[in-house]
């Protein structure tokens, strides 16, 4: 039997388009690893994160940027995501080397597709499809949340004043892109 080697390819790789000053693009080599805190081992896991990244695990709904430019987003009391730039299919081992075995890790790089929306019309475009209150005080810098946009499960993260990182399922990447593009076109 023939032997096949499957190489994962991000579905929206290289996507980059601008609408006036507003830009929608897929970040390159975007690695995602989820970190689940073991029941009863929460304190040890938090300590390991602090030692490995030099930052405290933030409160649910908040994110922090670590010294090595990794971003840690806590989505639930016992679940956080680590985002960092890395090419290759070994993102999980990089986090595993740092956290030892103090937390349960899952490589989610393939699972999500990332889009970064930035520019003056970013918030106006998102307001139409995001059920969360994105007013600058209500959704502050570095806030992150999991919600639904156009029926698609989405993680939204505010990384700068007018910059939002959006994550949705790889399997419906084109539909998600279409939803965001349509919303931008509706406001410009």
């Amino acid at each position: 039997m023939a032997e096949f080697t499957l190489t994962a390819a991000p579905p929206l790789a290289g996507h980059d388009e601008t609408f006036g000053d507003t830009r929608l693009h897929a970040p390159q080599d975007f690695a995602i690893v989820s970190v689940a805190l073991p029941l009863g081992g929460e304190t040890a896991a938090k300590k390991a994160i602090k030692t490995a990244y030099g930052v405290e695990l933030p409160a649910p709904g908040k994110s922090v940027v670590a010294k090595g430019k990794e971003r840690i987003l806590r989505l639930a009391p016992d679940l956080a995501f680590v985002f960092f730039t890395h090419a290759g299919a070994d993102a999980e081992t990089i986090v595993a080397d740092k956290l030892k075995d103090k937390a349960y890790l899952t490589d989610q790089t393939d699972v999500w597709t990332a889009l970064e929306l930035s520019g003056p019309m970013a918030r106006a475009a998102l307001e139409r499809i995001c059920p969360l209150d994105l007013y600058t005080d209500a959704f502050a810098l570095n806030d992150g949340a999991r919600t639904v946009m156009e029926h698609l499960g989405t993680i939204i993260l505010r990384t700068d004043d007018d910059t939002y990182l959006l994550l949705s399922a790889s399997s419906s990447a084109d539909s998600f892109l279409h939803a965001i593009e349509t919303s931008i076109k509706n406001v410009i």
Binding site: P60, G61, A76, P77, P131, L132, R146, T147, G153
Partner: protein, 99 residues
């Protein structure tokens, strides 16, 4: 309808899935002599109040937490939202078990 999540703040009810009466947290002891009767009540018998009702909601399109929502079934007014794990741990403590 808006559910004010204790950790994440107000969220649209569309992000949640409804399960039912919060008494489902109180699973009977399967070793008790009257376990058969208790499980029958647990599985099939529900109150149907016109008024305050405690129910389980799952934040599926959010942080995947289970919530105990106290809601008035007549007006849909939500008076209290708690994390189900806190409620369950409170009950375990009250029974003198657990940590």
């Amino acid at each position: 309808m808006i559910i004010d999540h204790p950790l994440l703040g107000p969220r649209d009810a569309a992000e949640f899935v409804y399960l039912g009466d919060a008494s489902l947290i109180d699973r009977p002891d399967w070793q008790a002599p009257d376990a058969m009767e208790k499980f029958h009540a647990y599985g099939y018998l529900r109150d149907n109040p016109a008024g305050e009702h405690q129910e389980l909601w799952y934040h599926e399109q959010g942080d995947r937490s289970w919530l105990v929502v106290t809601r008035d079934t007549v007006t849909h007014t939500i008076t209290k939202v708690e994390l189900a794990r806190d409620v369950a741990r409170g009950k375990t403590k009250a029974r003198g078990r657990g940590k």
